[in-house]
């Protein structure tokens, strides 16, 4: 049983005419609901520019509430079932996806496909094709490659307080000062032992957390045991 969360496409948001993104998000959110999602995040209209402000995040939430309470799409379950197009397209996407799943299986599974650069090549090809279509105006993006008259508009931008770094450094220093160093040492030792011996690491992570080990300390233990990964260069 596949339960799923959905998020509207961040990559579809435009920096140009940013208020248009409210309409994009609403339509995408409606598709997720008609697709039967179990959970949904709606992007804020200003996210091509910065993190959302409180106001833009609220509009995004209100968009979901309008779909949920005003449109009537929740009256009956899976209302688009039986649409010739939707059922045909569901079958077609299943068929094409199964072909790709089989192809990956024949390659020896995901890890092998990753190591051989399969996904990188496929992504490069798909993105290139899409970008070409946009540049040739075979695909129209409103406000980007058509209808580009900009209405002057001031979008308030959420800024991150530069003080954050200082506050964090101070809190970390206090944590390191006030915790029980013996418990920290024992907890990190336990984590290392579990990693080396291939045991389940979760009970040790919990003990590390309770001992106020820092995230960096825990990850450093695993960096030492497992090593780090550099992506090979593909041509």
């Amino acid at each position: 049983m596949l339960r799923t969360h959905a998020q509207t496409a961040g990559v579809s948001l435009t920096a140009q005419q940013p208020l248009n993104n409210i309409a994009r998000v609403a339509i995408q959110a409606l598709a997720a609901v008609l697709g039967g999602t179990n959970s949904l995040h709606t992007d804020a209209y200003d996210e091509a520019l910065a993190l959302p402000t409180e106001e833009s995040a609220t509009i995004a939430l209100r968009t979901q509430q309008i779909i949920a309470y005003e449109t009537g799409v929740t009256h009956t379950i899976d209302p688009l079932a039986g649409s010739y197009y939707v059922e045909w397209l569901t079958d077609e996407m299943e068929r094409q996806a199964m072909e790709i799943i089989e192809e990956i299986r024949r390659m020896g599974g995901m890890v092998r496909a990753i190591e051989e650069g399969y996904f990188l090549r496929e992504l490069a090809e798909a993105s290139y094709r899409y970008q070409q279509e946009v540049e040739r105006k075979e695909r129209i993006i409103v406000g980007v490659n058509a209808f580009t008259d900009e209405i002057p508009l001031k979008v308030p931008i959420q800024l991150v307080d530069p003080e954050v770094e200082r506050v964090q450094a101070e809190r970390l220093a206090r944590v390191r000062r006030e915790r029980d160093p013996k418990r920290v040492e024992e907890a990190l030792k336990g984590l290392r032992r579990a990693a080396v011996e291939g045991q389940n690491t979760m009970p040790h992570f919990v003990e590390c957390a309770l001992a106020y080990c820092t995230l960096g300390e825990m990850m450093d233990v695993l960096r030492e045991v497992y090593g780090t990964y550099q992506e090979p260069a593909y041509v």
């Binding site: 049983m1 998020q7 509430q65 949920a68 799943i101 995901m110 992504l123 389940n200 090593g227």
Partner: protein
């Protein structure tokens, strides 16, 4: 051919017993009262493939929805991803979002946290609190969830390579505040394969990375049974430039890969599979997106059933069913 009448009497009723219909008018603006479900019999057509391909909500193959009564009983969770600056600032935003009617929390972490570095590490400079909240120790996590009832909200955390550590911090907060782990609900993203494919926020090589993920498959169901210890994610694959079909295929392939790795460790598919959750993008092509969700729901249990031989084959990576005494254990590898 299964009749709608029987579905209404069985699956729909059973679903309502768990979660009654919402107390709103399930009527159109003209006061027409739609039924919970429409099928070929309602418009007098034949659809010989109906049961095999579409079926009924809450029933295999789940094309029409995973729950019997879907949004008639419970709307989707409105879960807004938020996080910036310090734990104090994000905690304040969380409380405002809950007050505005949001029904679940979703934490965005900053880049140093995602890469497993403390805020005061030299590599963290300039990135602390920028794209999400900074969490370097339990002290930050305690502030992040201060004043929020962890048994009442469900919390989703977008964290991958350091997922075990961050989840442990959340659970440590719950423990210190006296909450019962058995009652906690939420999700850690914890999908490392898509990091290698698309988002590239990995730390360790693929094999030990997957090992850490499977640790949560083994430990999670026994200790925090309502927690989704993975959210197999197509979102980042799509955002990296894939098509909808590739997103669908690669995400499900990732899911099957984890299932196989868990079986190799000797874990019980009926125990871990119900807590595997998914995460998809939803882009501009309206009907293609709708079809993508429906196809995903149909592929997963079908292929899972053939790959893993769960005790109830048609449940296919679905709800756990008690094993009849004396029946053989499931095979440890596909």
């Amino acid at each position: 051919m299964r009749k709608k009448h029987d579905w209404l009497r069985e699956t729909y009723q059973k679903s309502l017993e768990k979660m009654p219909e919402r107390p709103v008018a399930h009527r159109t603006l003209s006061n027409i009262a739609p039924e919970p479900l429409y099928t070929p019999e309602d418009i007098g057509v034949l659809d010989p493939e109906y049961e095999e391909k579409r079926g009924f909500p809450g029933e295999y193959p789940y094309t029409r929805g995973v729950y019997g009564s879907m949004y008639r009983s419970k709307l989707w969770t409105m879960r807004m991803f938020a996080g910036f600056g310090t734990a104090e600032q994000t905690n304040e935003r969380f409380k405002k979002l809950l007050k505005a009617g949001q029904t679940g929390l979703s934490v965005a972490f900053d880049l140093p946290t995602l890469m497993g570095y403390d805020s005061d590490h030299p590599l963290s400079k300039g990135e602390v609190g920028k794209c999400g909240v900074a969490v370097s120790s339990l002290a930050d996590m305690e502030i992040l969830f201060e004043g929020i009832n962890l048994e009442e909200v469900t919390t989703s955390m977008t964290i991958n390579s350091p997922a075990n550590a961050i989840w442990a911090m959340y659970l440590a907060v719950a423990k210190k505040r006296g909450y019962d782990w058995k009652k906690l609900g939420g999700t850690i993203q914890n999908d490392i394969l898509k990091e290698f494919i698309a988002q590239k926020e990995f730390i360790f090589p693929p094999e030990p990375s997957v090992k850490l993920v499977i640790d949560t498959f083994e430990w999670g169901p026994k200790n925090v049974p309502k927690w989704n210890f993975i959210s197999v994610s197509g979102y980042h694959i799509r955002e990296a430039g894939s098509t909808a079909v590739q997103e669908l295929a690669w995400t499900l392939a990732d899911g099957f890969e984890y299932v196989e790795a868990a079986l190799k460790r000797g874990l019980d598919v009926d125990e871990f599979a119900p807590r595997i959750s998914f995460f998809f993008d939803v882009h501009n092509d309206f009907f293609e997106e709708i079809a993508k969700f429906r196809a995903a729901r149909r592929i997963w249990p079908r292929r899972c059933a053939t790959a893993t031989k769960p005790r109830t084959p048609r449940a296919g990576c679905s709800a756990p069913t008690p094993r009849p005494p004396g029946s053989p254990s499931p095979p440890s590898s596909p």
